[in-house]
């Protein structure tokens, strides 16, 4: 119907099941509406830690973007941040480059010219290429090797292929593999662990650090906390990896294959009982008790305080935030709140949460952020009083909002506690 945003209730989606997801929720069947969520989902370099920023996670690295001008255009948003000043460079392509591939011959020379112009030699040069080279079938590994020979520095490819967004290895998966591909085998240390998945650190008082310490771990590495290239290299000493974001799974498999470092995957959750169970499961694998009753009690207490302060809050939850909107919705519903609307990208994996949600809150509406009729989304009748996420804020500009998309990553009981505190503030 014209002028109405399409949605399904949780109950309807659950009834249809993961094999019968409506077309409106399948992004390959329709045009993609430009909402803030789409920018993050569909445009791999645009928002937050997209490919461009993520590619510079290694300390003192620089990036050369080899692409048509349009692909590098929005980088100025990032390069204006102090930590990225003088770290982005561009080799722009024209039509003749596409036809002849001559731009590839220029890459080693360009890398050399850039390195010569810098006061301090970079630790790594990342070469970022885009859809055009994906279609041309460019062998960027070879170009990188040539550049390494010319400069004597490590040079790695970074694929910002929006075309492969829904493929087996989307750009954000690939960039994580590139980042860790520079690690060389080192002698293992039994008390070192890597946290993989995010490009910024977990919140400092996340209980996971303390629990790992109690378990005998002396050093926890995160790429975002590495001060220099040498420290980054010590990630190869880890005894095991904890994968906190599914997009880091392939990188963790590379660790396993190349460096013989095994991994355990954990999820970011907001359901306190599930967080406890996940830690218990990790403890079982490690063969030690893995628990923090104090942090758990603090999280429970923060939920209680939120419930008592805002008993009638009605939430709308978007996907532009640090969490899975369906899981967070389920958590809030379990805590006794009402969740009226979810804006998300529905995948088969979300049905784990939809099943429970359909029992507890069957009438919660689910909107697809990318569907064209979202142009007509009308917040009037929703009854929403608080929104979580940048996209939810976009749809409800006049309602109290917690963006919850900060760079420091919320996790575990601490994540729940901070979220409740932020919700109490609005």
């Amino acid at each position: 119907m014209r002028g109405t945003a399409y949605y399904c209730t949780v109950e309807e989606l659950q009834k249809r099941g993961r094999d019968d997801i409506p077309e409106q929720f399948r992004s390959n069947t329709h045009l993609i509406y430009s909402s803030p969520a789409t920018l993050a989902f569909n445009s791999p370099g645009a928002e937050g830690f997209g490919v461009k920023r993520a590619g510079l996670a290694i300390p003192d690295s620089i990036m050369l973007i080899v692409a048509p001008g349009c692909c590098g255009r929005n980088t100025s948003m990032i390069s204006s941040m102090p930590q990225y000043e003088d770290r982005f460079f561009y080799l722009t392509m024209d039509e003749t480059d596409i036809v002849t591939g001559r731009h590839l011959k220029k890459v080693p020379k360009a890398v050399q010219e850039i390195c010569d112009s810098l006061e301090k030699k970079p630790s790594v040069v990342m070469i970022c290429i885009t859809c055009v080279d994906a279609l041309l079938g460019t062998d960027m590994e070879r170009i990188c090797r040539k550049s390494e020979e010319k400069t004597g520095l490590p040079v790695r490819p970074c694929y910002m292929y929006a075309l492969t967004r829904e493929g087996r290895k989307p750009p954000m998966v690939h960039v994580r593999q590139s980042l860790y591909s520079l690690l060389e085998p080192k002698k293992k240390k039994g008390n070192v662990v890597n946290l993989l998945g995010f490009f910024s650190p977990l919140m400092d008082d996340c209980e996971l650090y303390g629990m790992l310490e109690k378990a005998g771990v002396k050093t926890v590495h995160e790429i975002s906390r590495c001060k220099d290239y040498e420290e980054y290299q010590t990630m190869a000493e880890a005894n095991f990896n904890l994968v906190l974001h599914p997009e880091a799974r392939f990188a963790a498999e590379d660790f396993h294959e190349k460096l013989q470092i095994p991994f355990i995957e954990l999820r970011r959750l907001y359901q306190i009982d599930k967080i406890t169970k996940q830690y218990q499961a990790l403890g079982n694998v490690l063969g030690i008790p893995f628990e923090d009753h104090e942090a758990e009690a603090a999280a429970l207490d923060s939920v209680k305080r939120l419930k008592s302060a805002k008993p009638d809050a009605v939430f709308a939850i978007g996907e532009c935030m640090n969490g899975d909107p369906f899981e967070l919705a389920l958590a809030l519903v379990k805590y006794g709140f009402r969740v009226a609307e979810i804006y998300g990208t529905l995948t088969a994996e979300n049905f784990v949460y939809l099943k429970n949600l359909s029992e507890l809150s069957p009438q919660t509406k689910v909107f697809s952020n990318m569907e064209p009729t979202m142009l007509y989304y009308d917040p009037e009748e929703s009854g929403v009083t608080i929104t979580i996420g940048k996209d939810a804020c976009y749809y409800h500009p006049d309602v109290k909002n917690v963006m919850w998309n900060e760079e420091v990553q919320p996790y575990g009981y601490a994540g729940v506690r901070y979220l409740c505190e932020r919700l109490l503030e609005v």
């Binding site: 119907m1 014209r2 002028g3 992004s27 390959n28 329709h30 045009l31 993609i32 509406y33 430009s34 789409t38 920018l39 989902f41 569909n42 445009s43 791999p44 370099g45 645009a46 928002e47 048509p68 001008g69 349009c70 692909c71 590098g72 255009r73 929005n74 980088t75 100025s76 948003m77 390069s79 460079f89 561009y90 080799l91 722009t92 392509m93 024209d94 039509e95 596409i98 731009h103 220029k106 360009a110 010219e113 850039i114 885009t130 859809c131 055009v132 994906a134 279609l135 041309l136 910002m160 292929y161 929006a162 075309l163 492969t164 967004r165 829904e166 493929g167 990318m370 064209p372 142009l375």
Partner: protein, 359 residues
Amino acid sequence: MKGLRKYLTPFAPDQSGAVSVLYELGGMLVICDAGGCTGNVCGFDEPRWFETRSAVFSAGLRDMDAILGRDDRLVAKLADAAEKLDVTFAAVIGTPVPAVIGTDYRALERMLSKKTDLSVLTVNTDGMELYDKGEEKAYLALFEKFSDKNEESEDMNDKDRPHIGIIGMTPQDVSDLKAANKIRKVYADQGMRAICYGMGDGLDEVRNASLAAKNVVVSPAALKAAQYLQKKFGTPYEIAYPLASELVPEVNYQGKKILIVQQQVIANAVRKEIEKRTGEKEAITTATWFMRKEEILTDLNVDAADDISLKEEDDFISLVEKEGYDVIFADPCMERMIPGFEGTFIPLTHFAVSGKLNV
């Protein structure tokens, strides 16, 4: 090295220029890309996107769409959206992906026209040209598609024609979202009504383009469209930027060697404004990273040697080193390229360069 940039991020590309022209006209704008280009347009190059929701869509191309050339899928998606949305036309805007696979935009336009009742226009941008090229194509496509001779205009004298048409007003070109209202006021103060195509004035005004007494070209990208309208309707045009005075601060310019870097019309309007203030012909050079039209120089009576093209970063750096200017007007992001410059640097923001607006 040609194409290598160490200081400046790439300038606004042609697809952003095309979107900029069509953005406010009530159509469904489909960027024929995988998502990255739309992200660039909406998240960066189109400042109006942050203010209002708009019907800008990505075609959402995936690798197999490109490899197999599945234009029929795009047609089906667009036809489906056309049924659900209340829009007046559909525009398909090109990007590097269709350029690489050789998409036939004319064929696409015909296929789309058969599947939907909407008027369809296509702009064959490729992401490798600059914004002004995309604007030029979009303006031409727009006026060719929608502007017809209005019967009312047949017997009108120039005096009776109701308005002045302003062509070339986009945020990319004028770097100021309030510029259209300011220009309307300038003409209103002279008892005339100004229509700013694409900035505050919609498709109906484009349809009535033949009613304009004259057109004012405020950017080189609009020149071809103005010439087209002159040929089609006999509408005369002039080249000017009516807000140039607000871009020139009160500084003593007398006897100074001056460089102005902007799009060609604004750069030369600033030149005229300075010379108006000093009352003399000054040693002024205008330069642009973008299109440069001989007709504009002829029309404004500027010597071609005083108006130059910049392509690479080194062109600007060496020009400044060689010429020893006293005053430089340029986008603030260019100041860091010339740390040794000891003269007066006057900010002259150009959105297509820095992505920043005048505030």
